[in-house]
Subunit: 446 residues, 2 copies
C-alpha cells in the first residue's frame, strides 16, 4: 500500500496544472455552454488555432514578463515553437494571412492557453480562456460591445455584481508626458503599474526605479493615476489635468464614447468605473483597456480583461487593421460560482441507471437502456455483473436521480420498477410507457 | 504588396497544424455536439486533463514509434514534459491516483492531442479526439459498449455505412506462438503488422526482419493473419488453427462475446468484421482491439479506434484495473462529411443583421439588436458606420439569412423592414412583434 501511494504520487499533473474530474467538469460545461450561447447571440463565429505557434510570432509585443512565461520547445524539425500564451496573437496571425475575411470580422474562441507563472490558488500554468474579438472596426462602439458581451456572460451565469474597470493607454501615455517621462519607456512603465495590486505602491516604485523612472517622477505618477470612480468624475479630472496633450484628450473622448455606448447596450451605470491605474500587462494594447472583477471576490483577480490593439495585426505581417477584444477566464468564474454555490450543479449528467434484478434479465435490461439512450435520456447500465443491491448502491454513489429495475415478475406483466433515488420511492411503470414517463421526469421545466 | 505577402507568409500555422476558420468550425461544432450528446446519453461523464504530462508517464507502454512522435520539452523548472499523444494515458494516471472514483468509471473527453508524424492530407500533428472509456469492468460487454457508442455517433452524424473491424491481441499472440516467434517480440511484431496498410506486405516483412523475425516465419505469419470477414467464419478459422493455445482460445471467446453483445446493442451484423491482421500501433493494448472505417472513404483512414488495456493503470502506479475505450477522430469525420456534403452546414451561426438606414437610427438599432440577442436570436449590427447599401452587402457576404432595416419612416409607424436575404424579399413587421416573428423563422422545425 505504501508502494502504491508512492507510485501514484510519482505521476501527478505537472506543476501548475490540474485535472478536471467530472465533479468539476459539470460546472465547467455549464459555464462554457452559457458563455458560448451569449457569444453566438452577439454574432461571433467560432474559430480555433493550434496550441503552439512559432516563437517569433508569440514574442511580437508580448512584453518582457510574458516572454519569460512562454513554454518554448523545438520540434524534431528544429522549429522554434511555443505554447500560445493567449488567443489574441494567433487571431492576429490568422487575420494577417487571410485578408479575404469580411470586416468587421467577429470571432470567438474557447480554448486553453499556457503561461509559466508562479502558481497560486487562482492562477494556473494552464487555463481556459473565452475570447471575443472584433477585427476591422476602429469605433469605440466595438470596445463597448466586447465589454457588454462579457457582462452579459456574467449575468447569464448569475454573476450580476460585477464591476467594469476602464482606462485608456492613451491617457496613461499622457500621464507620462505630464510627469516628464519619455514615451520610449511607456511599455516598461505600464508593466510596472500593472503589478500595483500584486506588489503595492512601494513595489511599483522599485520596479520603476529599475527602468530609470526615479522619484519624484515615480511618486508623482502614482499619485496622479491612483484615481478611480464613476466615469464622468474621473474623466473630467483626467481631461483637466491633461489639457493640451492631444493624444490623451482623444483617449478621454474615446472612453466617454465607450461609456455612453455601454449604457445603450444596457449596462447599468453603477457597474462602470474608470480607474486610471489600470494598465494591463501585455504590450500590444494601444487604446481603451478593460477588466472585470466580481464584488466580494476581488481576491480571485479579474474574471475578464481585454482592450484595443490597433497595431498587432500589422506587426504580424498583415495590413494595418484596428481590433479590440475581451477574454473571460473560465477557471476564476468557476472558482467564484463554487464558492458562492450560486448555480445548481447536478452531481451527474446521466439521469437513469438500468438495473437487471438478476442475470436472466440482462438482455432485456440492455434493450431498455438502448431505448432510453436513443430517446435522448442519458442512461447507464450495470457493466460489472453485480447483484441488484450492489447495483443500486453504485447508482446511489454516482448520484443517478432514477433507477429502472428490470425484474422477472414485473416484466411478465409488461412492466418495470421505476425508483426515485432521491425520494427513495418506487412505482410500477408500463414497459412501453417508460421513455415517455422518464422524459417527463428528466426534462428541465420551463 | 510583395512585402505584405512575404510578411504574411512568414507567420503560418506550424507545420502539420492548421487553423480552423469559421467556415470549417461550424461543421466541427455540429460534429462535436452530436458526439457529446451520444456520449452523455450512454452515461459517460466529462473529464479534462492537462495538455502536457511528465515524459516518463507518456513513455509508459507507448511503444517505440509513438515515443519518437512525442513533442518533448523542459519547463523552466527543469521538468521533462511532453504534449500528450492520446487521452488514454492521462486517464490512466487520473484513475491510478484517484482510487476513490466509483467503478466502473465511465468518462468522456473531447480534446486535442499531438504527434510529430509526417503530415498528410488526413494526418496532422495536432488533432482532436473524442474518447469514451470504461474503467473497472473486465467484461466483454464493456468492449462492446464503447464500440456501440462510436457506431451510434457515426449514425447520429448520418454516417451509417461504417465497418467495425475487430481483433484480439490474444489471438495475435497465439499466432506468434503458432509460427514459433517468441512472445518477447510480440509488441515489436504488432507495431510492424500495424503498418500493413501503409507499407504493404513486403514492407512489413522488412520490418519484421529488422526485429529478428525472418522468413519463413514472417511469411507464414502474414499468410495466417490475412484473414478478414464476417465474425463467425473468421473466428471459427482462428479457433481451429489455435486449438490448444489457451490464451488465444480465450481471445476468440472474448471476441464472440463482444460480437453477441454488439448485436444486442443494436449493431447490424453486416457492419461487423473480424480482421486478424488488425494490430493497432500502441503498446498498451492487451485484449480486444477495434477500428472503424467508412465504406467508400477508406483512404481517409480509420475514423475510430481503440481496445482493451488491462495493465496500463497498474503501470501508472494504480491498482490493477481493467479498462477499455475507443477514440473518434473529429478531423477525419469532418473530412468525410465535407467530401460527401452529407450534412447541411449553415454558412454562419448568427441569423439576423440589424442595419440602421442612417446615422439617426443607430440608437434604435442598438436597442433592437440587444432585444434580439437577449431573446436568444443570434444577431449582429453594423459596427463600421457604413451606409445602408454597404451594410446589406456585408450581411450578404457573411451569409446572414435575415436583415432588419431600421428606417425613420417605418419606425414612426412602429415598424421595421424584415428582409429575407436568400429570397431577396422584404416585408414590414411591427417593432413589438419582431422577436416573435424572427423566433418563428429561425427556430429549427420539428
Amino acid at each position: 500500500m505504501i508502494w502504491e501511494i508512492l507510485m501514484a504520487m510519482s505521476f501527478q499533473p505537472p506543476k501548475g496544472t490540474c485535472d478536471l474530474l467530472p465533479d468539476k467538469m459539470i460546472l465547467r460545461g455549464i459555464i462554457v455552454d452559457g458563455i458560448r450561447r451569449v457569444f453566438e447571440n452577439y454574432g461571433y463565429e467560432p474559430m480555433e488555432t493550434p496550441a503552439f505557434e512559432s516563437c517569433p510570432l508569440l514574442e511580437i509585443k508580448c512584453g518582457e514578463d510574458i516572454r519569460e512565461q512562454i513554454y518554448k520547445f523545438k520540434d524534431k524539425g528544429g522549429r522554434d515553437l511555443g505554447l500560445r500564451y493567449d488567443l489574441t496573437v494567433p487571431l492576429a496571425r490568422v487575420v494577417a494571412s487571410n485578408p479575404q475575411l469580411p470586416k468587421p470580422f467577429k470571432r470567438y474562441c474557447i480554448s486553453r492557453v499556457w503561461r509559466y507563472e508562479k502558481p497560486t490558488a487562482t492562477r494556473r500554468r494552464e487555463f481556459f480562456q473565452c475570447d471575443v474579438d472584433i477585427v476591422g472596426s476602429p469605433d469605440p462602439i466595438s470596445d463597448a460591445e466586447v465589454v457588454a458581451v462579457a457582462a452579459d456572460c456574467l449575468e447569464a451565469l448569475g454573476l450580476s455584481n460585477f464591476l467594469v474597470r476602464l482606462n485608456n493607454r492613451k491617457i496613461l501615455e499622457g500621464m507620462l508626458e505630464y510627469v516628464g517621462v519619455s514615451g520610449d519607456r511607456a511599455l516598461d512603465v505600464f508593466r510596472a503599474i500593472d503589478k500595483l495590486a500584486k506588489i503595492g505602491r512601494e513595489g511599483v516604485k522599485g520596479e520603476l526605479r529599475k527602468i530609470g523612472v526615479a522619484p519624484p517622477a515615480s511618486s508623482k505618477l502614482l499619485d496622479l493615476i491612483c484615481k478611480e470612480g464613476e466615469p464622468k468624475g474621473v474623466l473630467d479630472y483626467a481631461k483637466g489635468l491633461l489639457k493640451g496633450i492631444t493624444a490623451a484628450e482623444g483617449g478621454c473622448r474615446e472612453l466617454e464614447l465607450v461609456v455612453s455606448h455601454l449604457k445603450r447596450f444596457g449596462l447599468p451605470e453603477e457597474r462602470l468605473r474608470v480607474d486610471l491605474s489600470l494598465a494591463r500587462g501585455i504590450d500590444y494594447y494601444t487604446g481603451p483597456i478593460f477588466e472585470v472583477i466580481m464584488e466580494g471576490d476581488e481576491d480571485v483577480g479579474s474574471v475578464a480583461g481585454g482592450g484595443r490593439y490597433d497595431t498587432l495585426i500589422e506587426l504580424c505581417g498583415g495590413r494595418a487593421t484596428p481590433a479590440t477584444g475581451i477574454s473571460l477566464g473560465v477557471d476564476r468564474i468557476a472558482e467564484i460560482i463554487e464558492r458562492r454555490r450560486s448555480l445548481p450543479v447536478p452531481r451527474i449528467i446521466a439521469k437513469v441507471f438500468v438495473a437487471p434484478a438478476d442475470d436472466s434479465m440482462r438482455s432485456e435490461a440492455v434493450a431498455i437502456v438502448q431505448e432510453l439512450r436513443r430517446g435522448n435520456i442519458a442512461s447507464d447500465i450495470d457493466l460489472a455483473k453485480r447483484r441488484l443491491a450492489a447495483q443500486l448502491e453504485y447508482a446511489s454513489k454516482r448520484g443517478f436521480p432514477y433507477a429502472v429495475i428490470v425484474g422477472k415478475r414485473e416484466l411478465q406483466q409488461g412492466s418495470v420498477l421505476l425508483r426515485d433515488m432521491t425520494a427513495r420511492t418506487q412505482r410500477i411503470v408500463k414497459r412501453d410507457k417508460l421513455v415517455e414517463v422518464l422524459r417527463g421526469l428528466v426534462t428541465p421545466k420551463g
